[in-house]
């Protein structure tokens, strides 16, 4: 049972299934620290947006939920951007515009919009799972790309990797290669989960 849940967790990643939020997943994964910060930011924005939208669910009509979700997500994305710039400036410069772009992150906005339909507990649970799935993907991609593409881990040089580096993995094209491989792995889990 637990094994099936894990496989479902690994194969139901919204980035892998619908390619939602693929942009930051591809762009913010050249460094493990940047990947972790991005994952934490998306997790927090996702959970807080879903929580607020779930609380507003009883008083909001269906036709204002999407604009409400956009406003709420944009607000939390702006706050996350400021906090990262203030307290993790190095990661902020590595992530560039991609934290602010979370304001228009389809995964978060849609999650927020549908959160109004369910109860607070259910919405939070869904947001936490999606956030962890996104975090897992980003962190794994960042580790693979940084270690194999640059021969470093969190900026620290790995001497044993000096002759094994594949520089293309650290470039934009490399992010698509790693993403494709992880997509294939995810599909394997999906088949097994069925």
């Amino acid at each position: 049972m637990e094994n099936n849940n894990l496989k479902a967790f690994l194969s139901n990643n919204p980035v892998m299934i619908l390619f939602l939020a693929a942009c930051p997943a591809l762009a913010a994964t050249t460094n493990v620290v940047a990947g972790l910060v991005m994952a934490a930011a998306v997790f927090c924005i996702l959970v807080l947006s879903s929580l607020v939208m779930a609380l507003l669910g009883k008083v909001s009509s269906s036709y204002v939920r999407l604009p409400l979700a956009v406003v709420v997500t944009a607000g939390f994305a702006s706050m996350a951007n400021m906090l990262i710039a203030a307290f993790v400036p190095n990661a902020s410069s590595m992530l560039g515009v991609y934290v602010a772009v979370c304001a228009m992150n389809a995964m978060i906005v849609l999650k927020g919009a549908v959160a109004s339909d369910g109860g607070v507990g259910e919405s939070l649970k869904s947001a936490v799972v999606s956030g962890l799935e996104f975090a897992l993907l980003v962190v794994v991609m960042a580790i693979v790309r940084e270690v194999l593409g640059l021969g470093t881990f969190a900026g620290m040089k790995l001497s044993f990797m000096s002759t094994l580096v594949v520089p293309v993995l650290a470039k934009t094209s490399g992010s698509f290669i790693v993403f494709s491989i992880l997509l294939a792995v995810s599909n394997c889990f999906k088949k097994e989960a069925k």
Binding site: S78, M79, A85, P89
Partner: protein, 418 residues
């Protein structure tokens, strides 16, 4: 229903106001931290080259070279730090560096902050050779084999000095005549420089009295002398032994130069030139009609890559055939033929070998027949884009240089021989 819509609209506005208020409050707390971080990041490279600095003030200076990104004054009076970015390297991507210059005009710290190219020019060790140098940079040199990148680095450092000197912040170092001559040579004598302006010369010893330095150009069609008789002069000869003389201020003093000395230098220079005329004549004869009569024209007053000029008179008209020897990839001499009609438009274009060897950054794309045909009919106002060979930047620049030089030479020779 209308009432519900109003409530929903008010809800949207209320949520917007609450979120905006939260962002505003957070901004009040984080803005000073973000500003401090930004300033710290900006100042970090400055402290890297001047660690004993007590603080920096950014200066807004007039007329600084475009390679200079910012100039900072150290608050304790130690000197200045200049940040530079140049795209004059091999690939055209930006090389960034930071240089600390003391108030007495000497480099006290230097760092290469960003080097996007793959070929190593000793980026870990080369910058250290600039320590202690004044604005003359007399003790520094270009790295053989990586001339574009090292030259770009050196020129950026020179620009850093220029920014401070031109604004009266430090005094310029005094250059020795030998340095003035070596810097002037590629500027006034195009034959002696590749398209990037880097000298392509070999030294030889001269038997003429008063000569302190003698060089022949690597393409074999030019000779230069540093002559001294109380004053210092740079004397340059082209393949027709036409000459020009410059003083150390780059003024043309040919008319007042001792004719007897010029004659002696000319005799020696003639022996140093490559004998290319007969070979060039055979080549250009194939480029114009068979019935044409070729006559060699002297390239007086032309000091660029044009080696020989022939006038071809035929039943179909008069043509001017220019044989150019610019420097291509790896500074190898290319031989390029440009034939212009009597109106100065390109009649035909050819080259002994367009791609001397594969350029090391990427594979080139070239279809020689259509590439050569693409020049036909072009005049002096051509854009230069027709010379571009994707993946072969140096070769493209050499072709462009050759065609521009042919047009320049046409203006000089056709008028008097038409």
């Amino acid at each position: 229903m209308a009432n519900n819509k109003t409530i929903q609209a008010l809800l949207l506005v209320a949520v917007f106001v609450v979120m905006a208020a939260l962002v505003l409050v957070l901004n009040i707390f984080t803005a000073p931290l973000i500003e401090a971080n930004a300033q710290g990041a900006e100042l970090e490279p400055l402290y890297g080259v001047m660690p004993e600095a007590s603080g920096f003030e950014k200066l807004e200076l007039d007329g600084v070279p475009e390679t200079v990104s910012s100039v900072w004054k150290e608050n304790g009076g130690l000197g200045y730090v200049v940040r530079c970015a140049t795209n004059k390297g091999f690939t055209g991507d930006y090389i960034e560096l930071t240089v600390a210059i003391t108030v007495d005009g000497k480099i006290s710290g230097i760092s290469l902050d960003s080097y996007p190219e793959t070929k190593d020019f000793g980026q870990d060790t080369y910058p250290a050779t600039f320590m202690g140098q004044d604005s003359t940079l007399a003790g520094t040199s270009i790295v053989a084999g990586v001339t574009y990148s090292s030259s770009a680095f050196r020129n950026a450092v020179a620009d850093a000095f220029e920014a401070l000197i031109s604004n009266g912040l430090i005094k310029a170092g005094v250059k020795e005549p030998s340095q003035v001559i070596s810097e002037m040579l590629p500027v006034v004598f195009k034959t002696a420089a590749n398209p990037a302006g880097i000298a392509q010369i070999s030294e030889f010893s001269s038997a003429v009295a008063g000569v302190k330095g003698a060089w022949k150009t690597n393409n074999g069609i030019g000779v230069a002398y540093w002559y001294e008789n109380g004053d210092d002069y740079l004397v340059i000869f082209n393949s027709s032994l036409s000459y020009k003389v410059f003083d150390l201020e780059s003024n043309d003093v040919t008319s007042s130069f001792d004719a007897a000395v010029a004659e002696s230098l000319s005799s020696e220079a003639a022996g140093k030139m490559s004998k290319v005329a007969s070979k060039d004549k055979r080549k250009v004869a194939k480029l114009v009609s068979e019935d044409s009569v070729l006559e060699q024209i002297s390239v007086d007053g032309v000091f660029n890559s044009v080696a020989t000029v022939f006038r071809a008179d035929s039943a179909s008209g008069t043509y001017y055939c220019f044989t150019c020897r610019p420097y291509g990839f790896s500074n190898e001499t290319m031989v390029i033929y440009v034939v212009l009609d009597s109106n100065g438009l390109i009649y035909t274009f050819n080259a002994d070998e367009l791609i001397i060897e594969a350029e090391y950054f990427s594979a080139y794309t070239l279809e020689p027949t259509s590439y050569k045909a693409g020049f036909v009919g072009l005049g002096p106002s051509w854009s230069g884009d027709e010379a571009v060979i994707s993946g072969a930047t140096m070769t493209s620049q050499a072709v462009r240089c050759a065609i521009d030089d042919a047009f320049e030479a046409f203006g000089a020779v056709a008028g008097g021989n038409n």
